[in-house]
């Protein structure tokens, strides 16, 4: 085969994809980075080479709150997602007709548009006619009907619960697949050695799925960081900004307040955070990239 013509054919074939990513991902990333170092007044650029946007961002009383909420959203969301995903995935790995059916069904929350998910949960959590609050109240568990999305102390964690409904299924399925590929002989051998169910799980299954578990944890962090529509539609950052996270703050500053300076500075903070997570991802996945390249 003629390798030099192959090379040009290959570059020609990948050109559209590479050009698209350069134009719509790399280019905008560069643009927002330079914008964050530019003085912007009412959408007009007035001079490059200033840290004023970052100073303005740090001086915004909202900044600390947004960072705290983002930490709850990403760390709380990821940890709970992986824990529930591991529990559900372990259950789904059992051989039975029921679990086979569930493995197909469980992805449903994951494929539904997040706008639909937001509406469904906003309705169930409604302060007056929401089925969750009203059921808790009529069961005598709460005195008054709780307004989950209206209470500043509850709203962030309520959003995390909805996030888990949406993101956990995929974590569960990936971990289920990993658990099902654990060699049966190892499990049988430990059973012979007298290990109980918990010990078999802790000392045979967990070490075998450690790689999937770490990879899925980091990738969940990336998914959760990217999630915008769910919190934005459910609360719009409210009440009184108590559920404002990075993505909703960027949206609000950009398109409701038109403070492009602050918005671009926060976008850069967001990108740097993503880079750290992606670096972690590449580090965790280095083995799989190497084998992927070899194949």
């Amino acid at each position: 085969m003629n390798t030099s013509s192959d090379r040009w054919l290959a570059y020609f074939m990948i050109l559209p994809v590479v050009a698209a990513v350069l134009a719509f991902v790399i280019g905008p990333t560069w643009d927002v980075a330079t914008l964050s170092l530019t003085q912007v007044v009412m959408g007009q650029e007035r001079g490059f080479g200033t840290l004023n946007n970052f100073r303005a961002l740090a001086a915004d009383p909202m900044f600390a709150l947004v960072l705290k909420n983002t930490a709850i959203w990403i760390l709380g969301g990821t940890i709970l997602c992986v824990m529930t995903g591991l529990a559900v995935g372990t259950f789904l790995a059992i051989d039975s007709k029921m679990t086979t059916g569930l493995r197909a069904l469980i992805l449903l929350p994951w494929v539904l548009p997040d706008v639909v998910t937001a509406m469904a949960w906003k309705w169930m959590l409604h302060g007056q006619v929401g089925v969750i609050g009203s059921t808790l109240q009529s069961a005598g568990l709460t005195e008054q009907q709780i307004s989950f999305l209206g209470d500043p102390d509850l709203v962030m964690w309520t959003l995390v619960v909805v996030l888990i409904w949406r993101k956990m299924p995929l974590v569960a399925l990936i971990l289920c697949a990993a658990i099902r590929s654990v060699p049966n002989e190892q499990i049988e051998a430990s059973r012979m050695d007298g290990a109980n169910a918990f010990e078999r799980f802790r000392f045979v299954v967990i070490p075998n799925i450690a790689f999937s578990l770490t990879a899925v944890t980091v990738i969940s962090m990336i998914w959760i960081t990217a999630e915008f529509a769910l919190p934005w539609i459910m609360t719009g950052g409210g009440p009184a900004n108590t559920s404002q996270i990075m993505s909703t703050y960027i949206y609000q500053q950009s398109f409701e307040f038109f403070s492009w300076g602050v918005a671009s500075a926060m976008s850069v903070v967001n990108l740097v955070m993503l880079m750290v997570i992606v670096a972690l991802y590449l580090y965790v996945n280095r083995k799989s990239w190497a084998t992927g390249a070899a194949s």
Partner: protein, 285 residues
């Protein structure tokens, strides 16, 4: 498993299974049920499960041009816009993704693995941080408030994953098949179209389904780019219904059911392909 423990074991499995199934299905089903209730019933306490008298009025209201809810947003227009965007960008992504996927799977060129890795990593940055610069870019290109702008954007966002799915499936097709076709005088292009692509059809379907679902569901970029009501999409239409909460939730339920419908259809008919794409590639971001 101890034989005497079997019934308990079975009961335990069933109980867990039912709990998970209810957890997954209830929010969707509850929204669906609300779309058949009346505004009066939705405001009543205690809350009833089944609609007292099921009605399709909410759906009629959505499509009735004289009624209040459709004055600003025309649902047939929203649906056709969303279909145009999702279908066109899916076609673009599958064609260009197949070209690139073939190159990554079959041809040797300097930087191949690095470029493929870079494409995959680029997916992870498609989030809120790109909202503002994308808005600026589309304005400078004159593509704001146009379906074409969103089609280009979604295609760019979807291409890396489609390329990856198709490339990894092509790698599993024996290269000898093509080589023998090329020995027999077929050009590389002919060998690719006649021999390889028919075998890669499942991967193409997987890539198409994933992209369609993503493009149909997208909200953030559509909401900043589309301004005129003639250009809006279903997700924007549904999101604007937030104002109908409490007073006319049945319309929200009806609209949400419409938005979810194409996704459910794709999901239930393409289950096999969906799970395949998922386990093959989701962990790659």
């Amino acid at each position: 498993m101890n034989e005497s423990a079997r019934p308990f074991y079975w009961a335990f499995i069933s109980l867990c299974g039912i709990v998970i199934a209810v957890y997954v299905l209830f929010p969707i089903f509850w929204l669906f049920l609300a779309s058949f209730k009346t505004a009066e019933e939705l405001a009543q306490l205690p809350i009833g499960f089944w609609p007292q008298e099921a009605t399709l009025q909410a759906y009629r209201d959505l499509f009735d041009s004289g009624s209040q809810s459709s004055q600003l947003l025309n649902w047939p227009t929203l649906i056709s816009n969303s279909f145009i965007i999702a279908v066109t960008s899916t076609i673009i992504v599958v064609i260009l993704g197949t070209l690139a996927g073939y190159a990554f799977a079959r041809l040797k060129f300097p930087g191949r693995d690095l470029i493929l890795g870079g494409l995959l990593v680029s997916r992870m940055f498609q989030g809120a941080a790109l909202l503002l610069p994308t808005y600026r870019l589309m304005n400078s290109l004159g593509l704001q408030d146009s379906l074409l702008g969103l089609i280009l954007l979604y295609s760019a966002f979807g291409l890396p994953f489609a390329t990856w799915i198709i490339a990894s499936s092509l790698r599993e097709i024996p290269v000898e098949l093509e080589e023998s076709a090329m020995m027999d005088g077929a050009s590389r292009l002919q060998a690719m179209v006649m021999v390889v692509l028919p075998l890669a059809t499942p991967a193409l379907i997987t890539a198409a389904m994933w992209h369609f679902v993503g493009a149909w569901s997208e909200f953030a970029f559509a909401s900043i780019l589309l301004e005129s009501s003639a250009n809006k999409t279903v997700t924007i239409g549904l999101a604007s219904f937030v104002e109908l909460f409490t007073l006319e939730f049945q319309k929200v339920g009806a609209a949400a059911t419409l938005v979810a419908m194409p996704i459910m259809v794709v999901f239930f008919f393409g289950q096999r392909y969906f799970t395949r794409g998922l386990l093959a590639g989701a962990v790659k971001g």
